[in-house]
Symmetry: C3
Subunit: 282 residues, 3 copies
């Protein structure tokens, strides 16, 4: 059986950190195949990482182990986890909310807390690079078959950390949601509004929607946009609404950057409200 | 026989898109070896992608299949192609001009249009990520040997799209060309002027050339520069002309950034004219 | 035995250069496994590359060959080297100081100068891409077993180039060192002060240190900071001192960017002086 580790971090690519994690993995077992999801999560943005992980997992072979390291609490008492998602995939990561979306969408099967003594030999003096010393090292040992989860950890006693994400919902024909990510490098806005809410309100391609974007409850942008299948259905530099490749509502500008253009960003403080434009009667 | 897919996109590395494409490929066939050419083509810059593809192809094993996705028309009626270049390499890509340089330099052998029904199962609702749903998926099926081109497409009926690139030429001892790319991260200018035009005009290393750079026909920069083998033949921060690693004329500053320094960029609107400096007689 | 080449360059990822190097390697031997350390060394910053190489090497399998190309002198008469570090790892690189730290920390065993005729066939006209034409090509031939070092080079006659890096030291209870790298993307400062100097001065976690940062001998920043194990031991946006993952002193801001915030950068002109704060008596 072929061995796969996929890495997702905020370490960036402009330093040796990701390379060093790969060296550690190969030193444990040179037969492991290592892939990158991304290493350019905005530094310490757990929400962005949580969505990125949930959005990519279903497209990977089931035997993939994801090593996910966005870890502002590195070296503190936050726990390290090794889990199995409802999809069958493994994930090793800090316990800081990074599993929120995976748990919501696919559920979690086994959840183990890794005992702190399981770390790369010779690294006890280091407290700031668990990506190398804990996650890469143990990921490689698991995938190589040298150990199993219950040998490096124990079933968790307290629930895992969860980010407080309001679920998208419909009230009085209005759809409410959050802007959860900016889709770089294009600048599209990714919301947490799933496409089935559009079906409930009988919104079809070609309809126009009125929207308001709020930051911290304060109106930042409002207007009316067409709901279309893809960018090229409007002319250059026109804005549009569409269902993104994860099945959620997105805001975009055809061949432009919605986020930069309107200075709209993402996070739990950014909310959006939409409704289908009433058909005017003459 | 070892299986190779090489990816070239404008998806960036600061999101999960490229990772997800790799997951799709491995799900089809975990034995495929996946490599990255670049994912940082300037968003939607087909000209830059066309040159990057043509410049890298000759250095790859002949059994490599290139999946090239710079695709502003994603989800519209633009065609998807699977072709074989004159070099023997395969390419799968949207039909938007991205093959222009490969066709000019190496020719195209088989050209098939991919039937739209050949897409990753379960993705019919998505219209904005053909990199995942069409190109990665079909590339993997081809390279794995599960299908051949004629099973997922049919020979094209109409010619492929071509970018309008003026060929570099000589008139009255002047060389005319375009600036086709900025060589990031250094900021060198890449032109479409092949080195054999320099031979025709008997220009040798050590000669000085007078140049004018135009944007939209308007003069933006002019001067005189030495034609040298490599950057280190002039002092720090001095500008120079050289033959780049693709065999075309380049403008550079030794340990500096020509593009940033002089605010000169690339595209079909950026033209350059050069001639050998007349030897002054006393 | 499994074949590994690890690449470390300043070529960036926004062009086809690194991809093309991989194509060259695979054309020599498709069984070679290729990994990236980083390709985003600041352009032509040999000091940053020297530290990055020394810091990652110990974490890789001993049979890894590192191809390190930060090469402002490409195409000039600077030598090309193939060496074996004291750790057993191979390195192929230009002779421009890039081995300084590896030599200091691990020593060098064999050091060969590569004969210039050993280059990718068909590339004699090119003088600016030895990453492809010399380093990738010969790295692949070595790792594949097609040649050995003494067949492509000869033992060097003159010493290798060395960067002038002042060693960190203690004078009158003050520690003196340099800022050698900015740890991107977080903006932490990496110094060349090894942790054992802290032991000599009996500095313990929880102590406060007074520091001054100089640029070109001129005071740029001074203050007092706690010495802690990891970022999360101070509150958000507070600065701290810590031992980084390479065992040297670092300056950081918890969830912030020290370099950007205080406009402090790295290089041989950036020095730092620290001493343990005197305990005040009441």
């Amino acid at each position: 059986m072929n061995k796969i580790i996929a890495l997702l971090t905020d370490f960036g690519l402009n330093n040796h950190f990701v390379g060093t994690m790969k060296g550690v993995i190969l030193t444990v077992d040179p037969e492991i195949n290592i892939y990158d999801i991304t290493h350019q999560i905005q530094p310490q943005n757990i929400l962005e990482a949580a969505y990125s992980l949930a959005d990519t997992i279903p497209y990977w072979p089931e035997n993939t182990l994801f090593a996910v390291v966005v870890d502002p609490g590195v070296g503190t008492s936050r726990r390290s986890l090794i889990v199995r998602a409802g999809t069958g995939h493994g994930i090793i990561c800090p316990d800081n909310g990074i599993l929120t979306l995976v748990e919501q969408e696919f559920g979690l099967l086994d959840v183990y807390e890794i005992c702190v003594k399981n770390r790369l030999p010779g690294t006890n003096a280091y407290h700031t690079f668990h990506g190398r010393d804990i996650y890469a090292y143990n990921a490689a040992r698991i995938v190589s078959g040298k150990v199993i989860s219950s040998e490096i950890g124990h079933p968790i006693k307290n629930p895992i950390e969860r980010l407080k994400i309001h679920e998208a919902k419909i009230t009085h024909e209005n759809i409410h949601g959050n802007i959860v990510k900016i889709e770089k490098p294009y600048g599209n806005l990714c919301t947490n509004i799933p496409m089935h809410l559009f079906s409930i309100l009988k919104i079809s391609y070609g309809d126009y929607l009125e929207y308001i974007i709020f930051e911290d409850g304060k109106e930042r942008l409002k207007g009316k946009l067409p709901f279309v299948r893809t960018f090229g259905e409007v002319v250059h530099n026109e804005a549009l609404l569409y269902i993104d490749s994860s099945g959620r509502l997105g805001f975009a500008i055809n061949r432009g950057d919605f986020s930069d253009n309107f200075q709209i960003y993402a996070g739990t403080t950014w909310e959006v409200r939409l409704k289908k434009q009433a058909v005017k009667k003459n």
